[in-house]
């Protein structure tokens, strides 16, 4: 298993990975509460980006509605906890199941009716907006005034109920991101991952080589949706509140895909790197501009980053860095 995970990674890559792991594991002991929050949020966005990357980066399916899966995950686990006291460790299963189901519905409609490219992206937006307005009027979960999870500052960590210290949430986010990295690595090295890459590159050729395009694409959407919704469960219990206007908003859909784009679409490390560039950057900008109350500056810089990447470094930061550090494997396999 470990061998399979490390695969063809070279010695330098292994050392770099080991160092990164050490730093991330030791981080909570070295930073203050504020920095820990920034790191936790970076990891959270890394995880969302990794989940989105499965669809777009691997299978070439552009989703601009991924916020809906975050929202569904958060709301299902959150509501089951608020109304029935169901601990999130169980609630995450119905949450993922519902997200997977919605993903399957979108995929089925999109792929059966051959909705491709930008039109598919618009379909995902339409679904996300549809669901957002639905939750706005869904009074059982608070409607537009939101759903709140009782805050309960514990000093004892309770993973079953996801109540505990900031450190617990940090390690949880780290665990999610590492798990997503391992899963992505295994998938890419396996049969399904190869099918996805083929479809991403050329669907017609993929089909001529015996690949059932419909099934492979469905697998990508369902898996990506389920993974994203798990991030939503984390969202619910980390932030303790959710509003349809925020959690289903297209801005979240776009924010979560900026990491993979900036870090490197379709790469394993890109989404993590991108999130660790963007989240601290936005915090820094907020801190710098606090006195001047420039509320738009964060998004302005976000947008600028994407424009610069798209125009000058369309492959993203990671492939560029990896080449310079001598970390990359034979070119072209997108990892």
């Amino acid at each position: 298993m470990i061998g399979r995970l490390l695969g063809e990674a070279g010695t330098r890559a292994r050392i770099a990975l080991g160092l990164a792991a050490l730093v991330l594991l030791a981080a909570p002991a070295m930073v203050d509460d504020y920095l820990l929050t920034v790191l936790t949020q970076s990891l959270f966005f890394a995880y969302l980006g990794q989940s989105w990357n499965v669809m777009m980066g691997f299978a070439g399916l552009l989703s601009l509605g991924h916020a809906m899966f975050v929202g569904l995950g958060a709301y299902v686990a959150g509501a089951l906890f608020v109304h029935f006291g169901l601990p999130p460790v169980i609630g995450l299963f119905p949450a993922m199941a519902l997200a997977a189901l919605v993903g399957a519905a979108i995929g089925f409609l999109g792929f059966r009716f051959s909705i491709q490219g930008v039109y598919f992206a618009l379909l995902t937006i339409a679904f996300a907006e549809f669901i957002r307005i639905l939750f706005d009027h869904f009074t059982w979960v608070g409607g537009s005034s939101g759903l709140f999870i009782p805050v309960d500052n514990r000093t004892v960590n309770d993973l079953v109920h996801l109540r505990g210290t900031p450190e617990m949430f940090y390690y949880l986010a780290l665990g999610l991101s590492v798990a997503a990295l391992a899963l992505s690595r295994l998938l890419l090295a396996g049969r399904l991952g190869h099918r996805w890459l083929a479809i991403r590159e050329d669907q017609e050729a993929a089909q001529a080589l015996g690949i059932d395009v419909f099934r492979a694409k469905m697998a990508a959407v369902v898996l990506s949706a389920a993974m994203t919704s798990l991030g939503g469960v984390f969202y619910a219990f980390y932030f303790n509140n959710m509003f349809p206007e925020q959690i289903f908003n297209i801005n979240l859909s776009i924010e979560l895909l900026l990491g993979p784009i900036i870090g490197g679409l379709g790469t394993l490390i890109g989404p993590i790197l991108g999130a660790f560039v963007l989240t601290p950057l936005s915090e820094l900008l907020s801190a710098l501009t606090e006195r001047h109350a420039l509320i738009g500056i964060k998004h302005f810089v976000y947008g600028l980053c994407v424009v610069l990447i798209v125009v000058f470094l369309p492959g993203g930061l990671w492939p560029w860095i990896a080449r310079r550090l001598g970390l990359d494997r034979p070119p072209g396999d997108g990892t």
């Binding site: 409609l109 490219g117 992206a121 339409a126 297209i250 509320i295 947008g303 994407v306």
Partner: protein, 289 residues
């Protein structure tokens, strides 16, 4: 519900729909020619609204009279965007173009926030409470002016594309890109012109809609999505389809607001969008590819 009340609301929706249609015309023209999906559509429209607002606040210019000035400014912005940025990505994968536009959209909203703040602002005109009576219909005068202005600008655009040599050249580009390049048309310049004209059209729609709604930066997203709904229903790239889609969405929203909760009305549009995407992805008046 009395019938004349429904007729009133439907007509009001129709008039608003004309403005939606005009704005979607800009999106559709840009897509039809450059194949770029302008994700910054609503943002350009909001900039047009702020332009009209500024002209009103500083010079007392009514929004409809601001159309030529705002239109010219938006033309320049659109031309510069396409010539300076988007043209570089003409051969990039679709999703990269889409992301570029989305990023521009984010930046434009942020600029609006920095310049104008998050609060809603509007123009207060003395004529705001005037009404027009036509038979059983009693309509806000502003809405009637808006509808007429939208038709006028749309008509101008149709005439341009049909009779003006540049308009014909642009259509040639839309029909057959390689062919247009072969006969010596400067495709990149025509693309920039198209983006400029489309943007001017969006700016005009912004001026007009300012008579009916308050402007704030977050309106941009709503208008982007609304224009997508309109254009997809009408058929991407089809100009008359955009107007038809605008009318359909305007009326159905107005009626949905009457029959359901007003806040549910956009759910209706998105439901419509999903249906059209599935059943007739080329839109009602679009060409099958």
């Amino acid at each position: 519900m009395p019938l004349d009340a429904i007729a009133n609301i439907a007509t009001a929706g129709l008039l608003t729909g004309l403005v939606y249609g005009l704005s979607a015309l800009g999106l559709s023209a840009i897509f039809g020619v450059t194949r770029i999906v302008n994700f910054a559509h609503g943002e350009l429209m909001v900039i047009g609204m702020y332009g009209a607002l500024l002209l009103f606040q500083h010079f007392g210019l009514a929004p409809l009279w601001a159309i030529p000035i705002v239109g010219a400014a938006l033309f320049a912005i659109g031309y510069a965007l396409q010539a300076g940025l988007v043209n570089r990505l003409l051969h990039a994968p679709e999703h990269m173009q889409f992301l570029l536009m989305a990023a521009l959209a984010i930046m434009l909203v942020a600029l609006c926030l920095m310049a104008f703040g998050p609060n809603a602002q509007n123009v207060t005109l003395e004529s705001a409470y005037d009404s027009v009576e036509i038979g059983v219909l009693i309509l806000d005068a502003h809405r009637v002016y808006a509808g007429i202005a939208a038709i006028a600008v749309a008509g101008l655009l149709f005439v341009f594309f049909r009779y003006h040599p540049l308009g014909k050249a642009i259509r040639a580009c839309a029909d057959n890109l390689t062919g247009a390049a072969v006969v010596g048309l400067n495709v990149k310049r025509l693309f920039a012109l198209t983006f400029g004209i489309g943007s001017a059209c969006i700016g005009a729609a912004g001026c007009i809609i300012l008579m009916l709604v308050d402007v704030h930066p977050y309106l941009a997203n709503t208008y982007t999505l609304l224009a997508f709904v309109v254009v997809i229903i009408g058929g991407m790239g089809s100009l008359s389809g955009a107007l038809l889609g605008g009318l359909l969405v305007g009326v159905s929203e107005a009626l949905a607001g009457l029959l359901l909760q007003p806040s549910l009305k956009s759910m209706f549009s998105f439901g419509l969008l999903i249906l059209v995407l599935i059943l007739r992805p080329e839109g009602l008046l679009g060409r099958r590819s």
